[in-house]
Symmetry: C2
Subunit: 223 residues, 2 copies
Amino acid sequence: MKKRLHLIIADSELELVPESIIDHPAIVNYAKRRKKKPEKIILDSTYHHAALRQLEDGERRGRPDIVHICLLNALESILNKEDRLRVYVHTRNDEVIYVDPSTRLPRNYNRFIGLMESLFEKKAVPEDLQLLKLEKKTLVELINEISPDAVFIMHENGEFMISKHFGKLLASFRKPVVIIGGFPHGDFRSKVDGVKISLYREPLMAWTIVNEVIVSYEWEVIK
Amino acid sequence: MKKRLHLIIADSELELVPESIIDHPAIVNYAKRRKKKPEKIILDSTYHHAALRQLEDGERRGRPDIVHICLLNALESILNKEDRLRVYVHTRNDEVIYVDPSTRLPRNYNRFIGLMESLFEKKAVPEDLQLLKLEKKTLVELINEISPDAVFIMHENGEFMISKHFGKLLASFRKPVVIIGGFPHGDFRSKVDGVKISLYREPLMAWTIVNEVIVSYEWEVIK
């Protein structure tokens, strides 16, 4: 069997507008402008900043842009074109988005947001091909389902290892899972067991870690 | 002197709306919605598709999203944090954007578009720090100015080389330039001399090449 990397963007700050702020003017006006119902729009810190201040963890929530950039990098990678990658998005509300490797994600951010809103409503998009599917699931349940032979968590307090060496380590497994936080700062909310790894002495953006991990693994498994 | 990689996103499809389509309904309505003058907005294929059909090369123009993703990946890379990278955006109309390595680019696409519109108007943003500067300049003029000891052009008809080997080759120079096309498909418009390199048997997105080149060079120069 082919070795394959399973990448999870975990605790991603991707969610519909929470009910508690649905009447906030920042939300109501934004929804009106987009001609959508407030309960059907994706929370976005760029536009809902004033409303976010009323939420727990408000300073880190509403970051669909992080998911977008991580997915564009992962899906267009050589590793994915060689069918050696599976990518999943796990959210703060314990939903999991299964991403078909053949998905051609919208490059335009606003179209991506529209797609996510459809996905949260219909649970699968597009309706015929179902390239993206959303299910209620915790990070631990997702990992159990994948049934990997190793779990690594990219963490600023993890064991320091340059990505070249991490790529070699990953390639020594048949089906490794790598967990990358889909949030701008702070720690994971989910509790999960795994080996913590840090690729740099400073925190990195989620998409930077995606790129480092994918390219370093690619070199070991594609000859 | 430190070895440093000079990355040029060349012939990028980043421009203001051309005068010939300034009265097209797709442009006029979009400008009105954004409360901007039509001549001050960035051409965007997602919204100006109907107008683009009237332009030469209309099927590849209006792709600021490609520049955005390439820059986010480059600026947040470990290579850039180690001060081993300089990145430039060259456009189809022979403008060059100098990007200060410390720039924290807007993650949100719509904010990035707003920033580009300011840049085309004011030639430097933000007004005090001038992290981004725009000058009228051809690709050849930019390369002469950098004065590199090697020039590589990422090209689907180039010599095939996996990125690991390309990283080693790049690191054998003191100040190499790597040119990556900032357009969705087709060939470079600018004529430039250099060694053509292909990292994969199929065309890759511009940001995928950015990631491959940066990570592979990084491993050779950061110890």
